[in-house]
């Protein structure tokens, strides 16, 4: 990426002539996020032309905000998918963490910061449990996290009803520490007279960290390795179990961040929130270039995948179309992404014996 071809001519000069001129193109094509980037430009251009509000600062703030919480989760789920696993409990987890925070703060009178901390511990514990179960049993994470998904869904409804007598927890605004916590997770900042939610900054920050970890650190190398071939990784000494459990915990931690953003912004939470979002996270990650089979993908790509989501969802609203069309768009987008990814993987895995 950074180095020009043939940095040390003495060592590589005999091999250079075999590289050929298509190398730059090859390099670009194997970047997992290229497809998503092109898709994002297309969607952006399309709605910019078709609707008026889309490009207004208010419009930009709206679709960026829509993409932000989805994006945080999509990036975490992308890391997990590159590591070769799924987490179907990620969607409902965003509600579970919000519920834990809300119940502790509103019913038990805990300070919001303390409630947030307890909620984080809860999230990380569930993530670790997911990872431990998957690694311990060797079962597909798809089925294990389907179990935790259903269990959490039941817990969310059951406990909320038990504590509040309804399926909603509200009243965050009057709790201790609400304003300071809200400042961090749910405030707005103003650029050129338009206010943007701070969740956009969280999204950018999270993507930047995840991207750097993935490409620039040992742990990132291990993520690719355990997803690409867990057995080979173990054979060369990569701590496969620890890596995967940490990835599940990262996903749960991201769900905590999104849950916290939601509860502090809306000050109430429905017990059945978050259900079905897990597929949106996976779709955004796949649009961003992640392979369903693991070992390949990009954090930045997943963030762009979420951006496409946000732009299309809001663009359709601005265009005054029925939101049914969003599902059609999503399906086409997903199919296109899977086809492109598949072609890329074949290219990368092409075997010459």
């Amino acid at each position: 990426m950074t180095s020009a071809p043939a940095t040390s001519p003495s060592a590589t000069s005999p091999s250079d002539e075999r590289v050929g001129s298509s190398r730059l193109l090859d390099r670009l094509v194997v970047r997992p996020e290229i497809g998503a980037l092109l898709g994002a430009l297309l969607v952006f251009a399309f709605f910019s032309v078709v609707t008026e509000q889309f490009l207004s600062t208010g419009g930009v703030a709206t679709w960026l905000d829509d993409a932000s919480t989805l994006g945080i989760m999509a990036v975490a789920v992308a890391l997990l998918m590159i590591g070769g696993e799924f987490d179907l409990s990620a969607g409902v987890m965003t509600a579970s963490t919000a519920l834990v925070t809300a119940i502790l703060a509103t019913r038990l009178g805990w300070n919001v910061w303390l409630a947030l901390f307890a909620s984080l511990v809860f999230a990380l514990a569930v993530g670790a449990l997911n990872g431990w179960l998957v690694m311990r049993t060797g079962l597909p994470s798809f089925i294990v996290t389907l179990g935790t998904f259903l269990a959490l869904q039941g817990l969310n409804l059951g406990i909320t009803r038990l504590v509040t007598g309804s399926v909603q927890v509200s009243g965050m605004r009057s709790t201790d520490g609400y304003s300071s916590a809200g400042l961090l997770f749910a405030s707005t900042f103003t650029i050129g007279g338009t206010s943007f939610y701070v969740s956009i900054l969280w999204w950018i920050l999270f993507t930047a960290i995840a991207g750097a970890v993935l490409v620039r650190t040992r742990f990132g190398n291990w993520i690719f390795a355990v997803g690409g071939s867990a057995l080979s990784s173990r054979a060369v000494g990569v701590p496969v179990v620890r890596t995967k459990i940490l990835l599940f915990m990262t996903t749960a931690g991201a769900a905590w961040l999104v849950g916290s953003i939601n509860i502090l912004r809306f000050t109430s939470v429905q017990a059945n929130q978050g259900i079905g979002l897990e597929f949106q996270f996976i779709i955004a990650a796949v649009i961003g270039g992640c392979l369903l089979t693991g070992g390949f993908g990009s954090a930045v790509g997943a963030a762009i995948g979420a951006l496409i989501f946000g732009m299309a969802r809001q663009g359709i609203v601005y265009a005054n179309w029925n939101s049914d069309w969003f599902q059609l768009f999503l399906g086409v987008m997903l199919l296109a992404a899977v086809l492109v990814n598949n072609a890329l993987r074949r290219r990368a895995e092409r075997v010459r014996r």
């Binding site: 990426m1 950074t2 180095s3 940095t7 040390s8 060592a11 590589t12 005999p14 091999s15 075999r18 590289v19 190398r23 390099r27 194997v30 750097a212 620039r216 650190t217 040992r218 990132g220 190398n221 291990w222 690719f224 390795a225 690409g228 071939s229 057995l231 080979s232 990784s233 173990r234 054979a235 060369v236 000494g237 990569v238 701590p239 070992g295 390949f296 993987r345 990368a348 895995e349 092409r350 075997v351 010459r352 014996r353």
Partner: protein, 264 residues
């Protein structure tokens, strides 16, 4: 033996392993010396894989002794074995196909720069070291950024061998490195096996092809149904005899006779 006594890197004495009620390996003994190749031969199900999995730290033996550098050991993970200088290259599991050559080369031992939370991969170093280490083994690659999956089967094995040599392995275990390869590719891999040996590594070469084992091997351990069928120094056995024993000796002759009968 006429040649001087070499340093023994690794030794198993009467080693055994059972999986439940299945006896996978029983009473097998051999040595691996520095600068020599110990070949483990046997048909499918002979116990070759069990033996190397014990040596590599994937499984633990439950009978006999396993000595590294003269002292008994019991590895709990492949990492333990690696730390003792025992590197294993598996037939299909040598590398992660979707990762680049240099990332594979350094996998599990990545070079980093910086400190604390800001420890990053030293990518420049990784690329250049990979290039030189491969060049030293005589492997000429177009580009160390290409995914390993784009290499040929032989080249992939060679990358894995070069990696083990580079990271200071004392013992190199090769699981059927030539099994899935064409004649020419197999020859190339054997050349690197010989090169690793000449660099002073003790090599364990697992194969079911005596024609691959004989040219590079110094010692031959024949396994059959989990037991040692025989153990020979190179001076004690000819290729013909090795092939005959390997193929089941008398059994094969009977089969050949039978087949001749069918043909006539």
């Amino acid at each position: 033996m006429s040649f001087p006594k070499k340093q023994t890197q690794l030794e198993v004495r009467g080693i055994g392993k059972t999986y439940g009620s299945v006896i996978a390996l029983r009473d097998v003994s051999t040595v691996v010396n520095a600068g020599e190749v110990t070949c483990v031969l046997g048909d499918n199900g002979a116990g070759k894989s069990t033996l190397i999995k014990i040596l590599a730290g994937v499984h633990q033996h439950d009978a006999g002794e396993f000595l590294v550098g003269g002292s008994p050991v019991r590895f709990s993970s492949p990492r333990d074995a690696l730390d003792q200088g025992i590197a294993t290259v598996y037939q299909d599991l040598a590398v992660v196909p979707l990762m680049s050559v240099w990332r594979n080369f350094f996998l599990g031992s990545e070079p980093t720069v910086g400190f604390g939370p800001f420890r990053f991969l030293d990518r420049k170093q990784g690329r250049s070291v990979t290039r030189t280490a491969l060049a030293e083994m005589g492997i000429d690659l177009r580009d160390v950024e290409q995914p390993v999956g784009t290499l040929s089967g032989g080249e992939r094995q060679c990358v894995a061998i070069a990696r083990a040599v580079h990271f200071g392995a004392k013992v190199l275990i090769l699981d059927e490195p030539t099994a899935a390869l064409g004649v020419k590719q197999a020859g190339v891999v054997l050349k690197y096996v010989a090169q690793a040996r000449d660099r002073g590594l003790g090599v364990v070469l697992i194969t079911h092809n005596p024609h691959h084992a004989y040219p590079v091997g110094d010692r031959f351990l024949l396994l059959k149904r989990g037991r040692a069928l025989g153990s020979y120094e190179k001076t004690q056995i000819s290729l013909e005899e090795l092939t005959r024993q390997m193929a089941g000796g008398a059994e094969l002759e009977a089969l050949a006779h039978e087949l001749r009968g069918v043909a006539e």
